[in-house]
């Protein structure tokens, strides 16, 4: 398979403010969020980053999306470096996270056009893609309703569609079904599989074991910012369920601490 993402020794440390030290109840002045992380993803696969809260999944994805810069290491998306070619990387990826919000004042229709223009897409292509995606997610019926008046599910669908305005080959989803009702979550997971069938590569982070088992071709397990296991799902699970295998690895790393 063709490699589309290569991550090489990615590391990120955050300084802790006094306020954060108080919240975390620690004297440490910094925290290692991601520690020398390396993995690859191939074209047309869904790669899952699995780990508990605070493991470094979101930080890794934010570095891949060029929102934050790594302290060490680099990653290459379709040959473009996230360190030295962030604008080219951004043009190639779609990024969706619950942290990214849409402006309440605008309608899905306006936002689709606006973000399409930022990607330099021709007007006739915008119209075609919009028609297709809006129909696929049922956005047509609320296309002219301001985001402020949409339900959480509608907002998530709109965010998903907007992250795909430029039809990227490489898509990053951070906890894609977080906070969604079951119907919207199902719509999203179905669409991820459709994207894979179209030959797109998807990196998703999650702490939901069933989602990994259902969707992912390969998985990387992150604990305390380090890659504990990485490979084809069956190899990583080693004949166990994903959940059992994860806790086995977690105990090995943390020494029985849960």
């Amino acid at each position: 398979m063709n490699e589309i993402l290569r991550v090489e020794g990615l590391s990120k440390t955050f300084k802790l403010s006094r306020k954060q030290q108080q919240i975390e109840r620690t004297d440490r002045k910094e925290i290692v969020a991601v520690d020398n992380l390396s993995f690859t993803a191939n074209k047309g696969e869904i790669f899952g980053l699995l780990g508990p809260n605070g493991a470094g999944k979101t930080t890794t994805l934010r570095m891949l999306a060029t929102l934050i810069a790594p302290d060490k290491g680099d990653a290459f998306v379709d040959g473009c470096s996230i360190v030295s070619q962030p604008e080219q990387v951004r043009a190639k990826i779609g990024f969706l996270t619950s942290e990214l919000k849409l402006e309440d004042f605008f309608t899905p229709n306006y936002l689709f056009n606006f973000f399409s223009q930022l990607y330099g897409i021709a007007p006739e292509v915008i119209a075609q893609r919009k028609a297709k995606l809006f129909e696929r997610f049922g956005i047509d019926r609320f296309a002219e309703v301001k985001v402020a008046n949409l339900s959480t599910g509608m907002k998530q669908k709109t965010s998903l569609v907007i992250s795909l305005v430029h039809d990227p080959d490489f898509i990053i989803f951070d906890e894609p079904t977080n906070g969604l009702d079951v119907l919207t979550a199902r719509t999203v997971t179905d669409y991820l599989q459709e994207l894979r069938e179209q030959g797109k590569t998807i990196i998703l982070s999650t702490h939901i074991f069933s989602l990994v088992e259902k969707l992912c071709d390969r998985v990387g397990v992150i604990i305390d910012g380090r890659m504990t296991a990485c490979g084809v799902l069956e190899e990583v699970c080693n004949g166990m369920t994903m959940e059992d295998r994860f806790f086995e690895m977690y105990k090995a790393v943390k020494g029985g601490e849960e």
Binding site: E87, E99, K101, E103, F105
Partner: protein, 395 residues
Amino acid sequence: MKSNTLTIIKKEFARFFGDRQMLFTTVLLPGLLIYLIYSFMGMGIKKMVTEGANELVTLCVENLPASMAPIVDGIPATMTTQQPVSQEDIEKLEDKNLNVVLVRFPEAFDEKVATYDPQSGMAAPNVEIYYNSANNASSRVYHMLEASLSAYENRLSNRFDINRVDNVEAHFDMASQDDVLGSILSKLIPMLILMMLFSGVMSIAPSAIAGEKERGTIATLLVTPLRRNELALGKVVSLSGIALMSGISSFIGIALSLPKMIQADAEGMTLNYTFNDYLVILLIILATVLIMASAVSLLSALAKDVKNAGTMITPFMLVVVLCGLMPMFQSSTPESLTAYLIPFYNAVQVMTAVFAHEMKWMPVIVTLAANVVYTGVAVWVLTRMFNSEKVMFSK
């Protein structure tokens, strides 16, 4: 201009013009309010000045001396009666609706004045004038009487005069009406313009930058191929444009209402400025609003949320207000061109010079150039801030 910058500008304008409430409160309301407030103030002042001018006042005089008869008769719109002034009459004056003034001269006033020796240490003959200051007509007559009696007293010991007017053509203040109006405007308008522009910037910039950080919408922009300098320039230009609209609205309000407020029409004064004067004012406003929007954008980008932005911008606003007040405490604009390198202060000084009919081109050019350079630097810094994860994503 780069296309993505234009896309950002269009989005910010769409946000602004799509919100009727914001459009009304930011652009239409300031101009309308200024026009109404200044006009009402002008009407109030005019009413205070003219009210009672033609109302008949009963002037009751006790012991009217012969020397005073022509003075009392010369007070217009009065009906004079000579009668003793009782305590009861004085108490009746507490009714503010009574157009009455009571004057009590001492008996044999003229003789007492003629024989009075200031060196004797004795009390001088005293004239009592009772009136009600809440009644405009009564108050008018009191002030005329008081002025006439003071003038009479001065004449009694006259040794020399200053600017005595023997004919109506005599003018001692050689300032033209234009200069008088220019002097008033140059002290008031620059501060008002600065304040209006600042309130325009303040009403939108914190929400457009700190608000986007707070709501998480700026991160959505930052994951697109949009360059940070395009975003910074787009934000500054759009915010400047909106603030400029607010400033122009306020300026129109001021321009229409100020002559009413300062009673220029009553004094026969007219605004007499050339095309170049108006052009310079427009350019200075444009350059000022650019640097103002840049500075407020920088502070907003540093802030964690809109509330924090407001706290950070307040000290900056005080500095801008202080610059606006400068013309009130100075007799002329600075000669040194270096002074025109100081942002906001330079704009105030140039506007002051224009309104005072003392505009020179070099300070204008230095001010415009300095403000454009500072805006460029601010956009560069803002670009760096948009690139900084510490600034953009700090909690």
